[in-house]
């Protein structure tokens, strides 16, 4: 109970500290989600229904991943630079809760963009979704894994480097990952890389949750994702607990 209370208080602290930029952040999230759908639509012209469904169900994953993999490490890098992380670490709060509260903040921030991305995609390409009952926990798993990887990244790297790496990751996620198009279009070696990376399973999971009649996720992909989630959360927690 104390842990839940402390997580909510920490989240409130982070939330209020970002309050000036919150509306802007949400706008950016919405923009990314909508831009993915509409922009890719322009790239591929008038897509056939399968491609359109792929695009529309890939967009929310892009939003979730950018928030977790880009926004979270940038916030952590910022709090390292301005000294708030050092101060927070002196508080009598279990180390894992810093991670939990950041995940909470960013997941909540990502939600409007994600929902709007789905709606815009469905409207733009005139497709029908078939939502699975487990979509919400699946979304949480994706969001948590992305944020934990981002957190671990920012914990290990010095702040300027973390910012550079995350910016590069945006391009990897947008262009070189099988999120908005099928994996078969990529060179074989990149396909093999993605078999072990977390991005493809994230996309598959969200896709299967949004259109369960058309897509499914293999047990192997789910396992890869869960392992990434556990390892990244563990690494982030370890980094927070570390004493020099």
């Amino acid at each position: 109970m104390t842990a839940v209370r402390q997580t909510l208080l920490l989240a409130q602290w982070q939330f209020r500290r970002q309050s000036t930029f919150l509306p802007l952040l949400v706008v950016v999230q919405v923009f990314i989600a909508v831009a993915t759908v509409v922009g890719y639509g322009l790239l591929v012209g008038d897509p056939p229904p399968e491609v359109a469904l792929y695009l529309a169900t890939g967009a929310p994953t892009i939003t979730l991943i950018t928030v977790g993999l880009v926004m979270t490490p940038q916030l952590l890098a910022q709090s390292k630079t301005e000294g708030s992380l050092d101060w927070m670490r002196t508080l009598p709060v279990p180390r894992g809760l810093f991670l939990a509260s950041d995940l909470l903040v960013w997941t909540v921030l990502a939600l409007p963009g994600m929902v709007l991305g789905v709606l815009v995609g469905a409207a733009r390409f005139d497709i029908e979704l078939s939502i699975a009952p487990w979509l919400v926990p699946a979304t949480l798993l994706v969001s948590m894994t992305a944020a934990a990887v981002g957190y671990a990244l920012a914990s290990v790297l010095p702040p300027p480097l973390a910012n550079l790496v995350t910016q590069m990751l945006v391009f990897v996620v947008l262009l070189f990952s099988p999120v908005s198009y099928p994996a078969e279009r990529m060179p074989t070696w990149l396909q093999q890389v993605h078999e072990w990376a977390p991005i493809e399973p994230m996309a598959q999971l969200v896709r299967a949750g949004l259109a369960q009649d058309a897509f499914s996720i293999s047990g192997r992909s789910l396992l890869v994702l869960v392992v990434w989630c556990l390892v990244a959360t563990g690494a982030a927690a370890l980094a927070l607990r570390r004493r020099v």
């Binding site: 104390t2 209370r5 402390q6 208080l9 920490l10 409130q12 602290w13 209020r16 500290r17 970002q18 309050s19 000036t20 301005e82 000294g83 708030s84 050092d86 101060w87 670490r89 002196t90 508080l91 009598p92 709060v93 279990p94 004493r243 020099v244």
Partner: protein, 320 residues
């Protein structure tokens, strides 16, 4: 049984690795009791921050023990943090919040109950004269107000041990007095307070004990009176020279240093009257502008101790 010792540090050593490894703490012994304000003096790089970071489990000691309110702080950093509240030297960034909100949130994060925290926050804001700024966004408040806010955040729900690292920095003289009162009150209400400061003159009036830290070791630890005891019966004469003038001190006066147009020396109290007559003559002859006679202060003791250590330092470095 009441746990009287709040903090007991023994033989604490920490060396930072790297190309130019630094022995930040080199065998520190330190005690803080409930109800005491213990001042920790030391110049930049003396090892104060390293000591504090080890107490709250952010830095792992190489050697030595830290017992905090009966808890082994090295083995159980989480429990140590639950018993300590810290105001770090760097200000806590609270942009986006107001001082009152930041104080209340931290109080509740530290386990305080909402209404009690609100009442205590209001009390601190009042006592530190922060009311005009309490509900202003943090980006609009001055450095001194931010510093006082950080202090209030630390003590709104104080631990058994309260560590304050340079709490008076940037604070205006009027509010600094209010701050010292609150620090004294913390100890009177039962906390052990470890006060890290450069501000020897002001700390002197509040602390119960003082430890002087240099090169990672405690050079001396005693009450303010105990530390100045060796210099009781000694006074300090300070002269402001006129341009181009030089002075030759009378016999029995020990020169203690000079800077541009200023000279200082120590005088045995029984010779003081004679030195005053001598100094008055110098004024009349136009050699000095004015003079003053003050009791030996802690600042003098501190400078003496650290300078004595400096003279030994080269030999020590060879040994290392």
């Amino acid at each position: 049984m009441v746990q009287d010792e709040v903090l007991t540090v023994r033989g604490l050593r920490k060396r930072y690795r790297g190309r130019r490894g630094v022995q930040a703490n080199d065998g520190i012994d330190l005690d803080v009791r409930a109800g005491q304000v213990v001042g920790l003096l030391g110049h930049n790089g003396a090892g104060k921050t390293t000591l504090v970071n080890q107490v709250v489990g952010l830095v792992l000691p190489d050697e030595g023990t830290i017992v905090l309110d009966g808890i082994d702080a090295v083995a159980r950093p989480g429990q140590a943090r639950a018993r300590t509240s810290i105001q770090a030297q760097a200000n806590v960034p609270i942009t986006g919040l107001t001082p009152r909100l930041a104080i209340e949130l931290v109080g509740r994060l530290r386990g305080g109950e909402r209404s009690a925290v609100r009442a205590r926050a209001g009390e601190l804001i009042e006592a530190l004269d922060l009311s005009p700024w309490a509900d202003t966004r943090a980006e609009k408040v001055s450095g001194g107000i931010a510093r006082l806010t950080a202090f209030a955040m630390t003590v709104v729900q104080p631990g058994r041990l309260v560590v304050l690292d340079e709490p008076t920095n940037d604070v205006d003289p009027v509010r600094r007095r209010l701050l010292w009162q609150q620090i004294r009150r913390l100890a009177d209400e039962g906390a052990g307070v470890l006060l890290v400061t450069h501000n020897v003159r002001e700390a002197e009036r509040v602390v119960d004990r003082l430890a002087i830290l240099d090169h990672g070791v405690v050079l001396a630890a005693d009450t303010p009176a105990g530390l100045t005891a060796s210099r009781q019966g000694t006074l300090t004469v300070e002269l402001d020279l006129l341009p181009g003038a030089t002075v030759t001190w009378p016999d029995g006066v020990l020169a203690r240093g000079s800077s541009r147009m200023r000279e200082a020396a120590s005088v045995p109290a029984e010779d003081a009257a004679e030195v005053v007559r001598w100094a008055q003559r110098q004024v009349q002859q136009g050699a000095i502008e004015r003079y003053s006679l003050v009791p030996a202060s802690l600042e003098d003791v501190y400078v003496d101790l650290v300078e004595a250590e400096r003279h030994d330092a080269p030999a020590e470095e060879v040994a290392a």
